[in-house]
């Protein structure tokens, strides 16, 4: 490591902020907010600097850092990003200051803890995107869980926050613990076969596990990530978590946390288990397509704006999964781009819902109507993000969805056809919601006195707006740096799939025994790497 450790600094800057805030008096709320904001901004600036140092033509990991952590086990503190993770990192850092700003007046209770939780959450998310060691990844993955739990549980909606919080945690932890087992299994099998015990992701990419084992391990990873994505039918935690979480929680959850699942697939599940992921592609595609249509339909009949947006996430992320498993340039690029897009537009939508919730303390669609009249600026922004969410050309959502659908259509036309119908339903539920909230006459007298957005709120949405338009108009800024990494990803996975097929590895006789037969090993058996 002969360069400035960008990624470590990037990842742990918020932690410093968190520690600093711990020393503040709990009553000096504004000061703490400023500290948090400045650390988040600093983080964003660092990421911008990093972006300008990023070599968009190189297909490997950049800004790599590698420090041995637990030597005997092959665990290292290894960070690095490529075109795939670059923009997810940027998205995370972009949202950092935004969420702090967005919570400025929203959160008045236990501000100190709130800011600390947000900052630690930021550390976890950045760590997940940057880590290239399975162990490290798992650590960050779990670290993320706790602040999110607190965000939902402490600052959530009084009614059902506890239920939603614990549901979120349990759902996630079931998946991630099974993933831990699979990580260990992979580590051991690779170590046993190659003689090198390591959690290094890039090294494990080169190990081809037996098909049976791949199947089970992929399934474990699949479960963990599918829950996080969330894919149908593992999605039911999401509406609850979104609805009960405070605005900022929903924003982070939607914009970044859900991407952990999809990112997990692209970074871990597919390249580590190329054959299993190929064999199970149809399962993933089917669930994605069901998710797209199902999410849209259920979103259509929601009574609560946040729930509606939550279900729309299920639908949108179905697209992401679909494109990824198409395994061609358009599909995968579209999928990554759509991750960003979803982060921007759904994040913005949650912010918008939060702004109106702050004014009216309800999110029921029926309570609103005719808001356009009293809040014209709000109406315009709301409209733009709604359109972005339904994939209007010229805004970001379209580019992603189009690439995904093209990519999918090339290889799985029927899936693409069904998925494309989701585009129709997206228009239905979003516009219907928009109409019921914003149009019509003001029937509820409480809505008459609503104030339009203040400058802080506009400032919160403005960066998102810029990117929404930018990606829509000139997506190449984002597609170009991705391209080499995506090409490499596709090439590697396909090569390994072909290699496995040429090697005559059988297709699935599915049995439970993955590792060595459990005929009891002699007690004195030495583990290979502990001499």
């Amino acid at each position: 490591m002969d360069h400035f450790p960008y990624l470590s600094v990037l990842t742990f800057t918020p932690l410093i902020g968190a520690i600093l805030i711990l020393f503040f008096d709990r009553e000096s709320k504004t000061a703490m907010r400023w500290v948090a904001l400045s650390f988040m901004l600093l983080d964003f600036i660092i990421s911008m600097v990093m972006y300008f140092h990023f070599d968009p033509t190189y297909d490997g990991m950049q800004f790599s850092e590698n420090v041995v952590w637990v030597k005997d086990w092959g665990i290292s503190y290894k960070l690095g990003i490529d075109g795939i993770s670059l923009f997810l990192v940027m998205l995370t850092t972009l949202l950092g200051p935004i969420v702090i700003l967005a919570s400025w007046s929203d959160i008045q209770r236990r501000v100190k803890e709130f800011l600390v939780a947000l900052l630690i959450l930021q550390v976890g998310m950045l760590g997940v995107f940057a880590s290239l060691d399975l162990f490290l990844f798992y650590v960050f993955w779990e670290v993320m869980l706790i602040p999110m739990y607190l965000l939902i549980g402490v600052w959530g909606n009084p009614a059902r926050r506890l239920y939603a919080a614990i549901k979120f945690v349990l759902y996630t932890i079931v998946g991630s613990l099974l993933m831990l087992v699979a990580i260990l299994a992979l580590y051991l099998m690779a170590g046993r076969e190659t003689g090198v015990y390591t959690f290094d992701l890039l090294a494990l990419y080169n190990y081809a596990a037996p098909v049976n084992a791949q199947f089970w391990m992929f399934l474990a990873f699949f479960l963990a990530f599918a829950i996080k994505v969330p894919m149908f039918p593992f999605h039911t935690w999401l509406p609850d978590a979104h609805t009960e979480a405070p605005t900022v929680g929903s924003v982070v959850l939607a914009a970044v946390l859900l991407k952990m699942g999809t990112y997990g697939f692209i970074r871990f599940a597919i390249p580590l288990f190329p054959l299993a992921s190929q064999q199970l592609t149809w399962v993933v595609l089917t669930l994605s397509v069901i998710g797209i249509v199902y999410g849209a339909w259920v979103a259509m009949v929601q009574l609560d704006v946040k729930r509606l947006v939550a279900y729309s996430s299920v639908s949108h992320l179905g697209f992401v999964m679909l494109g990824m498993f198409a395994m061609n340039m358009q599909g995968v690029q579209g999928s990554i781009l759509q991750m960003i897009n979803h982060g921007l537009s759904t994040g913005a939508l949650f912010l918008i819902v939060g702004m109106i919730y702050e004014r009216r303390h309800t999110r029921l669609i029926a309570e609103f109507g005719g808001i356009s009249k009293v809040m014209p600026v709000f109406a315009v922004l709301f409209m733009i993000f709604t359109l972005s969410s339904i994939g209007l050309p010229g805004l970001n959502g379209f580019v992603g969805e189009f690439l995904i659908l093209v990519g999918t259509f090339k290889v799985y036309p029927w899936y693409a056809v069904v998925a494309a119908s989701g585009v129709i339903f997206a228009a239905v539920y979003m516009l219907w919601m928009f109409q019921r909230v914003m149009f019509g006459e003001i029937t509820n007298s409480k809505n008459l006195g609503l104030k339009d957005l203040n400058s802080r709120e506009v400032l919160v949405l403005f960066p998102l707006l810029i990117f929404v338009v930018w990606i829509g108009v000139y997506p190449n800024t984002f597609l170009k740096p991705m391209e080499p990494s995506v090409a490499k990803f596709i090439k590697q996975v396909n090569e390994r799939r072909e290699a496995a097929i040429h090697a005559g590895k059988p297709t699935f006789p599915v049995t439970a025994q993955v590792l060595a037969p459990s005929s009891a090993p002699a007690v004195s058996q030495k583990s290979p790497n502990q001499e």
Binding site: Y138, L150, L178, V181, V523, S524
Partner: protein, 483 residues
Amino acid sequence: MTPIQLPDINIWGILPALIPGLAGMVIMCVGLFMKKRVLGASMIIAIAAVFLSVIANGGMPTEPKTYFSGLFVLDSFTWFFNLLILLATGLTIPVAGRYLHEEGLEQFEFFVLLLFSACGMMFMIAGGHLLMIFLGLETLSIAIYVLTGYLPRSAVSKEAALKYVILGGFSSAVFMYGVALIYGTVGSASLPAILQAFQAGKPGITGMAGMLLMLVGFGFKTAIVPFHMWTPDVYEGAPTPLTGYMSVAVKAAAFGAFIRVFLGALPSMYPAWSQVLWVISVATMILGNFAALRQTNIKRMLAYSSIAHAGYILIGMIAGNKMGTAGMLYYLLAYTFTNLGAFAVVALVGSKGEANTYLDDYRGLGRNHPIIAMTLSLFLFSLAGIPPTAGFVGKFMVFRAALEAGYVWLVVIAALTSAASVFYYFRVIMKMYMEEPVQMPQRLQFGPGALIVLLITACTVLYIGILPTTYINMSLQSVQLFH
């Protein structure tokens, strides 16, 4: 008549174990003559004894040595457990001192018995002969029985002691019956002899029955299903610092002896006992975790959690490889700090007369005592096995070992039950942070000692969770002789 040839007496070797016993006697003498501040004095002596003992324990011995005609084995394994027991004792003493003071029990006997039990544990761990192990076990048991019933005005404390003594006696008898059978079929009760005889396959079915009966004895002390039934009641009824002590030190010592006997002397029977332990481990994890879901008393909840953890630790034993055994040691180390910390908080929050031991008493603790709540959360995360805490590394090690040995389903079950465990651990956090306090609980009485204990345990839980290498290597070296 031939003159008696004394055996190879080596006081230095047994010094770490001897010091607590001697210190106990010193406290008795001092206590008899002091009228005031007897509690503080005995506390200081006890802590000094622990420090002395740690010094006497020294660095990790490279070669195993035996003293007293093979009855006392001083090796890295002994060393590790000595350290563990001393740590547990040392960390319990300040908490107990604060607790006893609050309860108005200004007496020295608590520390005497505590030190005697530590002494018994260390002799048990070092035992190279079943007789030593039995005597050590009984010494610690007798002391712990008494300590359980130590609270003079508490009915539950007496009840716990009663249950413990009956069941403990019962299991001791069973254990001794097993020892008798082993002795009879091997011709000796020394561990090397047992190792040889079993490798030669001589003891036959009777010897194996002896082995299983011993397993019952160890199973009782380590609180594994179905020998766990005493645990919730005794943990609930015992004075809180003692509960913490029991859950780590006694469990650790029992596991140590368990490992020494089963891996040190009976490895040839691994196929038989590992199958038995597989079933037991699964049952233990399931029962411990699921029963804990319904608890309203935090001590009882932690008791069930401690049962569950015994199940996880057993996984390392079932794996039967070096990583597994080392994993057990590491797990015990992590668990020692974690659980002692947790019980220290429980003792603090419990206040006088253990008035606040229900989960509902923790409502709003995050608001009223943020530091305490934060440390308790940390311990709970560690118990739940969430990185980057020590508990995670422990689980990671035993899981890894079991997978290495091919026990996939065992690990999957362990993972799923541990997911269930998250529910009840997080429920405490929920109570602390997410529920409004019904009434402000009375100011908690902190003592500097208890705070230092919290600080040490919390920092260590994080430290060995983030930088575990040294401790992993330490535990790996400690189990060198079994593999």
